[in-house]
């Protein structure tokens, strides 16, 4: 026999819409705080783990510090990476590159060759 389950998931956007949004302009700050503190599933899961004795605040602190360091390190590595090759601009538009894009790539390489200072970080290949 086939059992079907339906899951209805209610979500709430606890943060602002974008960096240019100030959502206290259209909703009470108390509402946002309530969702963040008492409804956040990650916070609730942590409290449950702590109650089971499988997590404690020292572990929390250590992990936060090491995770942050990992992320910062990853950023440092990423920042030093070279930009992708110019050819990457023109691939994956289609499965196979059409002739107009081959032409445009040639013109762009010529432009970059002529004005290298205007396109820093893009080796012409």
């Amino acid at each position: 026999m086939l059992h079907c389950f339906e899951i209805e998931a209610l979500t709430y956007r606890a943060g602002h819409h974008t960096t240019s949004d100030e959502s206290t302009r259209y909703r009470p700050i108390e509402e946002m705080e309530w969702w963040k503190t008492s409804q956040d599933p990650v916070a609730r899961f942590r409290k449950w783990l702590q109650r089971e004795g499988w997590w404690h605040s020292e572990a929390e602190r250590e992990h936060r510090v090491s995770a942050r360091q990992e992320v910062l390190h990853a950023i440092q590595v990423a920042v030093k990476l070279e930009k992708p090759a110019l050819s990457e601009v023109f691939i994956d538009v289609y499965d196979v590159q059409p002739s107009n894009l081959r032409e445009e790539e040639m013109l762009l390489r010529e432009t970059v060759r002529r004005h290298p200072k205007e396109y820093p970080g893009f080796p012409s290949e």
Binding site: H17, T111, Y119, F122
Partner: protein
């Protein structure tokens, strides 16, 4: 924004040129593009009790602040294009905002099959002329695929609507008011790069800039350049550089893309014999193709060189490759020189 500032610096247009062209004897206060648009919307709402402004987030001022203060001043309302068509069909002025032009496509059916055909299909018994759709468009330095597009070409292929793109705060206020008061549905694309960066003296009063009239914003004799919106300031930089090499450039702001002012462009090309068209949108099927085809029809014997288009690449708008994708000043300069030296 940091990237944009590095690329642009602060743009200031002097007021005197436009004042001489009869916009106003008083030059007004220096304000930026989103403030100019905000003023136009205030005027529209003030002068017409049947005007409505709506769109996503416009109630709190919008993500670009263009609708700041309007809700407090005039009361709130929400809904987008289909709703706007209905409102306009009942004789109201519906001014709706699509938060980014990249998101306008779900409304395309409403614009093409409803708004554009309303008057025609009803034998002029009905119309939705009071409809104006505003949307921020164009590169912003870090917008990537979905916050940088210039979709004007899709709309220029639709008889029944008008497509208008301002280059600066002073033009934006006057053109937007003309769109709002025009008896036809209009799509108004605002260059988001310039919302804060462009500052210009703008008259505080209510004024309109006419639609379907192109403007020669720089006179010259050797070559004509045609563009619109934010691209014009890049073209202006290229013209300044070309001048150093003794090339005299005439620069035209099209302003209204459909119906467009062929006569002004034709007259200029008849003078110079050369044409370069530039837009951020991809070159294939871009609106430059229409301008090129029409001018070749009209000026074939006068042309000294093929009409040249300096446009975006035929790829989705990239993120890290933005500087390679765009029609930059040096690409324009190369095109000017090769067209003049043809």
């Amino acid at each position: 924004m940091a990237v944009a500032l590095r690329r642009f610096g602060r743009l200031r247009w002097s007021c005197s040129g436009s004042c001489l062209r009869g916009i106003s004897s008083e030059c007004g206060k220096p304000i930026n593009l989103y403030t100019a648009i905000n003023q136009a919307l205030h005027s529209a709402l003030e002068t017409d009790p049947r005007a409505y402004v709506f769109g996503e987030d416009v109630g709190f001022g919008g993500v670009f602040r263009c609708t700041t203060g309007l809700a407090d001043h005039f009361g709130k309302h929400r809904g987008i294009v289909g709703f706007a068509v209905g409102l306009a069909a009942m004789g109201n002025r519906a001014i709706c905002e699509i938060q980014f032009a990249d998101y306008i496509f779900p409304a395309f059916d409403q614009i093409v099959n409803e708004a554009a055909k309303f008057r025609y299909r009803s034998g002029n018994q009905f119309n939705c002329g009071g409809l104006t759709i505003r949307a921020p468009y164009g590169a912003v330095g870090h917008g990537g695929h979905y916050h940088s597009q210039s979709p004007e070409a899709f709309f220029c292929h639709v008889p029944g609507i008008k497509v208008v793109i301002p280059r600066s705060p002073q033009q934006a206020k006057g053109l937007l008011l003309s769109c709002i008061r025009d008896a036809n549905p209009t799509v108004f694309f605002e260059p988001k790069w310039l919302y804060r960066l462009a500052v210009e003296d703008v008259p505080e009063k209510d004024y309109m800039v006419p639609l379907s009239e192109a403007e020669v914003i720089r006179e010259g004799n050797d070559i004509t350049l045609v563009g619109w919106g934010a691209q014009l300031s890049i073209m202006e930089q290229a013209c300044n550089e070309a001048e150093k090499d003794g090339i005299s450039c005439e620069l035209i702001d099209l302003k209204t893309l459909i119906p467009w002012d062929k006569e002004t462009v034709e007259a200029s090309v008849n003078k110079t014999g050369r044409l370069v068209i530039s837009h951020e949108a991809p070159v294939t099927g871009g609106f430059g193709a229409e301008i090129s085809a029409s001018i070749v029809e009209r000026c074939f014997l006068r042309l000294e060189a093929p009409v040249c288009r300096v446009c975006g690449l035929d790829t989705p708008f990239p993120l890290v490759f933005e500087s390679l994708y765009l029609p930059t000043k040096n690409k324009l300069l190369d095109a000017i020189k090769s067209t003049v030296g043809y």
